[in-house]
Amino acid sequence: MTRLSSNWLAVYAIIYMIFLYAPVVLLPLFAFNDATIIALPLSGFTTAWFEQLWGNQTLRTAAINSLIVAISSAVIATLLGAFAARAAARYSFPGKTGIIGLIMLPLVLPEIIVAVALLVALSQLGLSLALWTVVVGHVLICTPFAVAILSSAFRGLDRELEEASFDLGESRWGTFRRVTFPLVLPGVISSLLICFTISLDEFIIAFFLTGTDVTLPVYIWSQLRFPARLPSVMALGTILLVLSILFLVLGEWMRRRAARRQGQDAAAGGAMTGVA
């Protein structure tokens, strides 16, 4: 196409990126703004909202709850994802499309449906809600992401390396430990980080399935009703934003290292492209 339309396309892409980043940029602006009202114009610089967070006991408990849930969900989802991804990448078996389809289903299922379904099941079994019930739900929504990330890690694995290891007398476990695992390790770490981030941010399932122990997003939700608390919520959001970006950059770096190690095209896109 002509140079002109190409330029228009670039302009459009940049405007679109401004649209994408508008709320993200506002978050730190208001977090450091010396005013109790979340509105423009900005009035001055302060770190008071961050200091306020520090002494907040409820927040601290919610943060610890969220960490417990996110770490447990990430580990379990990555483990379950590894089984499914390995099976999907390496073997063909009857009902494969259906089974993998069911495992990937939460990717398109509205989260409220997952939440409602688990709520009904738990109440029918007479189980009370607690942090572990949130973990059960988060594992469901994280596993498809783990499968997508790990599938590409396992697909890139050279089957001959494992066969060579068998031929040289390694047991199946030895081969896994010394050949397979090190090769997919960056994929595993990338999956852990992404699942951790998803769980840390998830609200609806946590809102439905948490008992008295609230997670961070549920805590934030409860604070949004009080205008006086909003600036410190912005500060909290800023901290979460920085942490998420840190984890993502780390996860992406790991994923590319894995791809490079297996000689794939590292530039082929992020972990999200694998999902799509």
Binding site: A13, L26, A87, Y91
Partner: protein
């Protein structure tokens, strides 16, 4: 290894994950379906099968309105999101040469900020004293704050189009990046102008990505809870808000289950239709 032994090993390997999903997702979903035919009186569940919940879900004006509005909003969000996303995906796939991975990464970063806070910040942007009104008035475009921005269906559409952007861009990008460039050159050599080349080659071949993007955005937005609750006002409330009320304050889980099942059946049918149409429109060259 024989195919049979291989199949057995594959099944063994997938079984922990499969079992987990069966017990924690398939069985609970089946239970929701069963629940929707029951009735509840305070804490006592009456298991006599009845269609009353569905009669209410489809017949009573409030539920019907919410269902139809949810379908309308999620369809609008999907069309807006995919239309806005396509040129960006096209730009990254065809115009960006060396920094594709960086662009894709930058597109996904906003998605990883707290969803709750992103929606809340749209409230800050679109509000009466909001960022957008302050900017427009500051630049002299408007004299008084615009009031049609927040607490209605428009706000829901804008916020959701923002929230689901990466999910629309990435599948379209993947489809566009896969297109064999020699086909485009061939079209040009055979006398197609840029427009004809786009409609005859690029668009049909990108169709699988467009359909994937459409479904990935459409189905989850149907069940969105936070956005309508925070920026929708009463005009913009959606079915998920009512489902939550039925399971919570109203203490009528069976009706909530019936609403959930109805919403999923409706959106599932629409999705199947879109999938079939997309298949017919798509190119056969892949």
């Amino acid at each position: 290894m024989s195919t049979r032994a291989e199949a057995a090993q594959g099944l063994r390997l997938v079984s922990p994950t499969f079992l987990y999903v069966l017990v924690m997702l398939a069985a609970p979903l089946a239970m929701v379906a069963a629940f929707s035919f029951w009735t509840q009186d305070y804490l006592i569940i009456d298991r006599t099968p009845t269609l009353d919940n569905y009669r209410a879900a489809l017949g009573e004006p409030i539920y019907r309105t919410l269902l139809l509005r949810s379908v309308a909003i999620s369809l609008t969000v999907t069309v807006v999101t995919v239309l806005l996303a396509f040129p960006v995906a096209y730009f990254v796939a065809f115009r960006v040469k060396r920094q594709q991975a960086l662009w894709l990464f930058l597109i996904t970063v906003p998605f990883w900020t707290s969803y709750l806070l992103r929606v809340f910040l749209w409230k800050v942007i679109l509000g009466y004293n909001g960022v957008l009104n302050a900017t427009l008035m500051g630049m002299g475009f408007t004299d008084a704050p615009l009031t049609f921005l927040l607490y209605n269906a428009n706000a829901v559409v804008i916020t959701l189009a923002h929230a689901w952007a990466p999910f629309a861009i990435l599948p379209i990008f993947v489809a566009l990046a896969r297109i064999d460039r020699s086909l485009l050159e061939a079209a040009e050599d055979l006398g197609d102008g840029p427009f004809r080349r786009f409609t005859r080659i690029t668009l049909p071949l990108a169709m699988p990505g467009v359909v994937a993007a459409t479904l990935i955005v459409l189905i989850p937005t149907m069940g969105d809870y936070i956005t309508p609750r925070l920026v929708g006002g009463t005009e913009g409330l959606m079915i998920a808000n009512m489902i939550q009320i039925q399971f919570g304050q109203a203490n009528n889980a069976p009706l909530g289950a019936a609403l959930a099942v109805t919403a999923m059946v409706v959106i599932g049918t629409i999705s199947a239709g879109i999938f079939l149409i997309g298949k017919r429109l798509g190119g056969r060259l892949t």
